[in-house]
């Protein structure tokens, strides 16, 4: 018996030796761009804040690249058969960075008080919840009003960070001194912030997972100029360039440097999807044939290969392929100018010139606008590119003052959270550039989206989302472009820098440096 046991054990050892065992120690230099105003991610939730703060604070769950939940502060969880009750069992022996124990009371405080007051997104999620109770120190139970399958993907580090009750209770959350001297449960502790220079985090020695984290110190460097950030990597001053920290045109050069690895992983939760708003209220965009013609006119493969250096993926429809319930159903739109011309002829398009509003996010987006303009000109749609800055873009899209406009939005882990807002007619409201800006209105689609959000279990939702995707792809309310890829560029000595669907921000817990 004993011998039988040792064989697989020995095998397991060999396998893990081939993968190389993590080693502890070392320091890691990264870029944070731009410098965030704060890294207290219960209050500040922009990208740079999450990149740093995600190592300090944790939520109940983490998600793998397919958005399947993994343990974080919750070591296990159960969902009731009817989809109404979610029970979370917390890890044992978790301590705050100041040494006090973390219990279900902290979770209750964060969920029912702190985040309710500060995060509109959290209030939206909690609108599905009837009550939250903590039967003991290590258990939290959420009871929903009706099934909401997306709920299980709402426990990400930045959508529901758990904050310390003993520090915040009874204080003004916005001005609490702990927002500067951060106290979380995460694998790294806040050490020092030299404004304009760097943010330093150090290893949490009392972390509840033995042996983790592996790296002793993290330095997030603030370097305001894009070219200097590229040089900082080239000279070895930093070894990790998070997605978006260097200009697109520098990526091919940097990724070819010796001992350099790149990965597109770690953006699955955000799943950024780009498209052209087509103002459905105005002719000729009100005609479905015109909108289909635009889809056939666009050379999206070209945009991906030339403008985005081959990163990303040509989008097939409203839901990113990274997001649950994606399905490749309904008509597809390869680059086919002849078909586009035929459709335009069929609808009797009069050649009226249209305005194209680019996204003012620099070089790549400007070039992209030029390419789209040319694609449309090639099928006989004359387009003028408007000049704009960020404020002008916000103003024009949110006030519906455009013909065709570029955008890209995050899908945040579930179609009921990050997709239906762009197509349901109840989401048509002036003043917000992130809702149903195109003005598409279809009772059938409304009904499908509403039912799909609350259907249970997942298989039922899938059925409804299949239908709505096929319908939308036929109607083309907006012209989908690319699932954007923001590669992380890093020194290959850094092992396992990305271990979740939220990448570097969540977190460097499992990363280590090869000796």
């Amino acid at each position: 018996m004993r011998r039988l046991l040792t064989i697989p054990f020995a095998l397991a050892l060999t396998v893990s030796a081939a993968l190389a065992d993590p080693v502890s120690g070392g320091k890691l230099d990264l870029i944070v761009q731009p410098e965030p105003p704060s890294v207290m991610i219960g209050i500040t939730t922009n990208g740079p804040a999450l990149l740093v703060g995600g190592n300090i604070y944790e939520s109940l769950l983490r998600y793998d690249e397919n958005l399947k939940p993994m343990p974080s502060l919750a070591k296990s969880w159960e969902t009731s058969e009817d989809g109404l009750t979610y029970t979370f069992h917390l890890q044992e022996g978790v301590k705050w960075h100041d040494g006090k124990p973390m219990t279900s009371a902290d979770v209750m405080f964060s969920v029912e008080d702190f985040l309710m007051k500060l995060q509109p997104r959290h209030r939206n999620l909690m609108s599905h919840v009837a009550k939250v109770v903590a039967p003991d120190d290590n258990t939290v139970v959420f009871t929903l009003k009706e099934p909401f399958e997306a709920f299980i993907r709402g426990f990400a580090f930045y959508t529901m960070p758990i904050v310390p009750k003993h520090i915040y209770e009874g204080t003004d959350y916005q001005t609490n001194p702990a927002n500067e001297k951060l106290i979380g449960t995460g694998p790294y502790k806040f050490a020092e912030w030299k404004r304009g220079s760097y943010i330093k985090l150090v290893k949490n020695e009392d972390y509840y997972l033995p042996g983790k984290p592996y790296i002793d110190e993290l330095y997030y460097h603030v370097i305001p100029d894009g070219a200097s950030r590229a040089v900082a990597y080239e000279t070895g001053q930093v070894s990790v360039l998070p997605g978006g920290s260097v200009e697109n045109f520098d990526i091919p050069r940097l990724s070819k440097l010796a001992n350099t690895c790149t990965t597109e992983k770690g953006w699955e939760y955000f799943a950024p999807l780009s498209w052209l708003w087509l103002n459905n209220r105005k002719p000729p965009m009100d005609n479905v044939k015109f909108r289909q013609a635009v889809m056939f006119a666009l050379d999206r493969e070209f945009a991906k290969d030339v403008l985005w250096n081959g990163y990303g993926k040509v989008s097939t429809g409203p839901i990113s392929s990274k997001v649950p319930f994606y399905a490749n159903v309904g008509p597809s739109y390869p680059h086919d100018p002849a078909k586009a011309k035929a459709l335009l002829k069929e609808m009797g398009y009069d050649g009226k010139p249209l305005k194209l509003l680019p996204l003012p996010y620099g070089e790549t987006w400007q070039r992209w606008a030029e390419a789209v303009k040319q694609n449309l000109a090639d099928v006989g749609i004359p387009v003028e590119i408007e000049s704009t800055d960020v404020a002008g873009w916000n103003q024009k899209t949110s006030q519906w003052d455009y013909d065709i406009a570029f955008t890209y939005l995050y899908q945040n882990g579930d179609p009921a959270i990050g997709v239906d807002r762009n197509y349901k007619s109840s989401q048509i409201a002036k003043g917000n550039p992130f809702n149903n800006v195109e003005g598409y209105s279809n009772p059938e689609v409304d009904k499908l989206f509403t039912e799909a959000a609350v259907a249970f279990p997942a298989a039922k939702r899938q059925e409804l989302y299949d239908k709505v995707q096929a319908k939308l792809r036929e109607d083309v309310p907006v012209a989908w472009l690319l699932e954007l890829g923001f590669p992380t560029i890093y020194n290959c000595n850094v092992e396992n820098p990305i271990s979740t669907a939220s990448g570097l921000p969540n977190s460097l817990r499992d990363a280590w440096i090869k000796k």
Partner: protein, 281 residues
């Protein structure tokens, strides 16, 4: 006229400049026939090096657009902007300078302080601000260049008019009862023509440079292919594709150099103080 040409052609550089200028104008005029496709059309693979493909002999840019076509169509834009903005700034500068110089006194003081207001702001910075405020378009660029480049015209005109108004023929006109505006228009302005022509040729060159610089900074008209735009868009890939920035750079250099040489030649030919036979041109 032959006298003028004789003096002009003595300046070898000026003749060379004139030839280059003529070729560039020819290129601009023939652009729609030589390159009937839009310069924005993506015709070949991106980053095609020059002299590899006979059709696209100057190569292609970051998006596979024909560089030669861009240069030809860009020539038209550059020359147009240069000429129009110079004409506009002359239209602003000449009346102000003439009035200040002729009437002197309080009129002169007010107009010259106003001129100094514009002169005290760095002209390129002012152009950037103006274009940014009015949204980049070919019209706003022309207006911005005109607004920053008229003060030297006004200054020059004022000086010329001040020296001319004490001449006998002006006194004669005054005595014969002509009105001030008639005197300025009929007697004085025709005599200031030569320095204006010389200045204008230099101003066209300067305007082309300013337009290129604006486009380079991304403040150009997004619908117009200009040399500055091509350089600006190619600057970021200069390590991979030098030719994208190089050829339009050479085009700007040649055009500005040609205009300056022509300007110098005109100066030699028209300026009475430098010419040997006195004021006859």
């Amino acid at each position: 006229m032959t006298e003028f040409w004789k003096r002009f052609s003595k300046h070898r550089g000026a003749v060379a400049g004139l030839v280059i200028l003529f070729l560039i104008v020819l290129l601009a005029v023939l652009a729609p026939f030589l390159f009937p496709k839009s310069p924005w059309a993506m015709v070949q693979r991106p980053f095609l090096p020059p002299f590899e493909n006979a059709t696209y002999f100057l190569g292609t840019d970051t998006m596979g657009r024909d560089l030669a076509s861009g240069l030809a169509h860009g020539a038209y834009v550059s020359l147009l902007v240069g000429l129009v903005s110079t004409v506009v700034s002359l239209l602003i500068g000449i009346p102000i300078g003439a009035l200040a110089g002729y009437f002197g006194g309080i009129v002169d003081d007010v107009l010259m302080r106003f001129t100094e207001l514009f002169q005290s702001v760095p002209s390129f910075a002012l152009a950037v601000v103006l274009v940014a405020i009015f949204q980049p378009s070919i019209t706003s660029i022309v207006v911005a260049i005109a607004i920053v480049s008229w003060p030297p015209v006004a200054r020059l005109l004022r000086g010329e008019v001040m020296s001319l108004k004490s001449r006998d023929f002006v006194d004669a006109a005054v005595l014969s009862g002509q009105r001030s505006f008639t005197i300025i228009w009929r007697q004085i302005l025709p005599n200031t023509l030569s320095p204006i022509i010389v200045l204008a040729s230099m101003m066209v060159a300067a305007a082309i440079l300013v337009e290129s610089a604006l486009s380079f900074m991304g403040l150009g008209d997004a619908n117009v292919m200009s040399w500055g735009y091509i350089i600006g868009a190619g600057r970021t890939v200069i390590r991979q594709a030098w030719w994208v920035s190089f050829f339009p750079g050479v085009a700007i250099l040649l055009t500005v150099l040609a205009l300056n040489l022509v300007g110098e030649g005109l100066n030699d030919a028209l300026n009475p103080r430098l010419s040997r036979k006195g004021r006859q041109a």
